[in-house]
Amino acid sequence: MLSYTLRRLAMIVPVLFGISVIVFLIMALIPGDPALAILGSFATPDNVAKLRQDLGLDRSLVEQYVVWLGNLAHGDFGRSYSLNRPVIDEVRERLGPTLLLAGASLLLCTVLGLAAGVVSAIRQYGWQDKILTLLVLIGLSTPSFWLGLILVLVFSVQLKWFPVSGMYAIYGGGDTLDLLWHLALPAITLAVVATGVIARLTRSTMLEVLRQDFVRTARAKGLDERTVIRKHALRNALVNIVPIIGIQTGFVLGGAVYIETVFQWPGIGRMLVTAISTRDILLVQGGVLVVAACYVLINLAADLVQHMLDPRIGT
């Protein structure tokens, strides 16, 4: 286990490196003069020249990359022009809310998705299966930003059960309960699609595993269905499901962009959208890099869990 963990840890170095190259290259893709693009067409030539120098645009691409990477290593992500503060500060402030939102909905979708999938598989073609399958289909097809609006309309505006937006109440909020109260709707909205994906995968994986020979062996030993399903089928199914949960994190982190916009959640997603419309390239760069790095770590965790479940992997 330890050696596998270390090996797997070593493997994320090239991945992080690759991510940085891609982000760098995308920004190098910006058509025309990035300095002009960043400052807009009303910029004075002086400002443009200064920014070009700041960005190192007068040097070769490789040189630029090396300098940029060196800065990153020191935690220097550049300065946000629209906010007029270091990118790293802004990103650091907003990472927490995003991770909280994503984590909450990941928890929701894993629990609900697994439960729905297992029930569906065990009651295959029964009424529970039919209802769940229909719900899953709708969940998978729902635009989450639209669902968010509906939930706000119904539960916040009409029923007044939940706040319309934000992370804390403006007056007198700030405790955990208040936070959870604000978190509920966005987390649920964000979890809907991923729940569908996990439920569907769980159902088909369980059905597949239940047909395998070792399940027949378990039954031939006289084990009862509960043991057969929990100890033999579900465990084997989880080996296939865990990496997909890891990948779902990617969808959840991405989907957070919509949800944060709809619910005015002060996370990185909303920051990115604003940054893109104000063409604050460095801010976009920093945000994307940090979230991608988190995602890499989450996938690492999923891998380690899978390794714990499955003795055949690694060693």
Partner: protein, 635 residues
């Protein structure tokens, strides 16, 4: 290899198969309706979607002239929705096709050329996958600037990895197929092999991936537009309409909600059709999924089936008139029909027959382990020391399984749970039936492993199945069967997957254990040599029926059924190379279209007319011998 079961049953075409899936048809109707209306937009009598009409702003639903109301600038919602759908659909489809094309190409090249090409391409794809899906798209839009074309481009790029990965995976598998090697040997070059052998077999994966990703791509482009990063005014797609109306959701909810509803409908339609296609192309991935076998075979006697004669109470196991059928696609496969057998205490009865003759189905029927669906026991009686097994309550059946009657299966890898240690898998059955504690059961497991001659059992007890060799795994299977000292062991081809030297060791082991414990053994094999080596009596099966039974020596020396006789003539015997191998012409009949009368008639060299007209009974032809042939008494 079961003869022509699939041979003559022509597979229905794709349309009838898709049509049988009602949900897919619903999806197709939704999708076709939306697509048709969107396509017809230019010829429909719609107002200009961009014509503003301020007096009508935010007109509610069903207003005169504006059936779906009007938006904040008084533009007609119906017209805007239809034109917007057109844009959304077009962008989604184009993005999907572009991603499919580029991704598949990368996947094919990587999978086909392998080595460093594969490594390089897949590392690059991994890098793209290392980003949260939408974030990469955002970064690309950030660089290129907002706009519908850029959004399309971004969504396309972030979907390329899905195609590249699944296509590569399948290509890798295809490249190793024998028929690709065969194509090389027939002189075909890389290009011919790629286009002729590999691409046609890849199309299903590409279509499947397309059907899963198209829905997402439409959702995600709508999402980018919703954020204001896609379609720019005055151009509008469903997402941007929703985004612009977001602020008005309290005042005029319909302006925001209707575009979302259309997206939902569109994507539901796409997903339903996609599920239908997946079910059709690869049942494992689909929403329907494979049927889940129940805990015990269903027992449902056919109406009017005769009451079977009760088996003798003296037998450890007595089976009479057992019929186990499979119901597949409206057809009835008579996998085992009218099977009878007696197994006495301490005896070894061999069941021989070619594949598909019903040996395994017979064996599994005894403790009702045949999968339902599609299997079902439709008639007969099975008694264990006089106790009727077919009428047992599930809990009582479970008490018997692995306890008084135990199984050993063929494939020693597939029949062990890969995630549990072999010790745990043995101990589990001890705990279940003897109520021992975990540690007591583990200690017994070590004893059992020593008994089946696994060296260093105390350490191997915590090994996982994949860490053992095939022969060792089968020893674990035997240890599991022995765990509760059963009086009957049913072994279904336990040595077929093993090398001869290992087979010899396992057969030795079984012989010794039988001598020590006096366990009765029902031993299934297709190898007459093994029967000769191990069994007291033998039962020959053909096309779901018992055709001959008797003491091993008598049957082998003087087979009375033409099938037994001719089957023995087909077996090459070591040390007798000059022995002429006389093949039996033809193939066994498929069990879903059995001929009337004798099942062997089409291949029999002694067939007469009477053989085909009426059912042939299994008749005694001497002490302890029965034969199902009307000419068995003739010399």
């Amino acid at each position: 290899m079961s003869a022509t079961t699939s041979a003559s049953a022509a597979r229905p075409g794709w349309w009838p198969r898709l049509r049988r899936n009602h949900l897919a048809v619903v999806g197709l109707i939704i999708l076709a309706a939306i697509a048709l209306i969107a396509l017809a937009a230019p010829i429909l009598p719609l107002p200009d979607p961009n014509a503003t009409d301020l007096p009508a702003r935010l007109a509610p639903l069903l207003s005169p002239g504006h059936p779906l109301g009007a938006d904040q600038l008084g533009r007609d919602m119906l017209s805007r929705i239809i034109w917007g759908t057109r844009v959304s659909l077009a962008v989604g489809v184009v993005a999907a096709l572009a991603a499919a094309l580029i991704g598949s190409l990368i996947g094919i090249v990587a999978g086909f050329y392998g080595r460093w090409v594969d490594t390089a391409l897949m590392r690059a794809i991994d890098m793209l996958m290392a980003f949260p899906y939408l974030l990469l798209a955002l970064a690309i839009v950030a660089a290129l600037g907002p706009g519908l074309l850029n959004a399309l481009f971004a969504i396309s790029i972030v979907n390329i990895p899905f195609f590249a990965r699944s296509v590569r995976g399948v290509t890798l598998g295809l490249v190793r197929r024998d028929y690709v090697d065969a194509a090389r040997l027939t002189g075909q070059g890389d290009f011919a092999i790629l286009t002729g052998e590999i691409l046609p077999n890849l199309l299903p994966v590409i279509v499947i991936t397309l059907s899963t990703t198209l829905g997402w791509m439409i959702l995600e482009t709508a999402g980018l537009s919703f954020l204001g990063l896609g379609a720019q005014p005055p151009q509008a797609d469903l997402g941007s309409m929703l985004g612009e109306a977001r602020a008005l959701v309290l005042v005029a909810p319909h302006v925001a909600l209707i575009p979302g509803l259309v997206i939902l409908l569109l994507v539901i339609g796409i997903n339903l059709v996609g599920d239908g296609i997946r079910d059709m192309l690869d049942p494992r991935l689909g929403s329907g999924g494979l049927a889940r076998p129940g805990a015990a075979t269903a027992v449902a006697f056919d109406a009017g089936s005769p009451t079977p004669e009760p088996p003798p109470a003296a037998a450890a196991l007595g089976v009479r008139n057992l019929a186990t059928h499979f119901l597949l696609g409206g057809e009835r496969h008579k996998a085992a029909d009218n099977v009878g057998l007696d197994l006495h205490a301490g005896e070894c009865l061999g069941i021989v027959g070619e594949s598909g003759s019903g040996k395994s189905v017979t064996a599994l029927s005894i403790l009702r382990l045949v999968p339902t669906p599609p299997g079902r026991i439709v008639g007969g009686a099975i008694h264990h020391h006089g106790q009727d097994l077919l009428g047992l309550k599930p809990a009582d059946l479970r008490d018997l399984r692995g306890n008084r009657i135990a199984y050993i299966f063929q494939d020693p890898l597939g029949t062990l749970n890969p995630l549990l240690t072999v010790g745990e898998q043995i101990a589990e059955t001890i705990r279940r039936h003897q109520g021992k504690s975990r540690s007591e059961a583990m200690a017994l497991a070590v004893d059992l492993m020593e008994r089946v001659r696994i060296p260093d059992a105390a350490n191997r007890v915590s090994a996982y199945p994949h860490e053992l060799s095939g022969g060792q795994r089968q020893r674990i299977g035997i240890a599991m069967a022995l765990a509760n000292d059963p009086d009957i062991i049913i072994a279904d081809e336990p040595t077929t997957a093993l090398d001869v030297t290992i087979q010899a060791e396992i057969l030795d082991l079984l012989r010794d254990l039988r001598r020590e414990r006096g366990t009765a053994l029902l031993f299934i094999t297709h190898d007459f040599g093994v029967v000769a080596d191990l069994c007291d009596r033998v039962m020959v099966m053909y096309a779901g029926r018992v055709v001959e039974t008797g003491p091993v020596r008598d049957v082998l020396r003087d087979p009375r059924h033409p099938y037994t006789r001719r089957l023995l003539d087909c077996v090459p015997v070591l040390g007798q190379p000059k022995r002429a191998l006389n093949a039996i012409p033809g193939l066994p009949p498929a069990v879903n279209r059995l001929p009337q009368g004798c099942h062997f008639a089409d291949r029999c060299d002694r067939v007469i007319e009477r053989c085909r007209t009426s059912d042939v009974a299994l008749d005694p032809i001497g002490p302890y011998r029965t034969v199902r042939c009307i000419r068995a008494r003739e010399p």
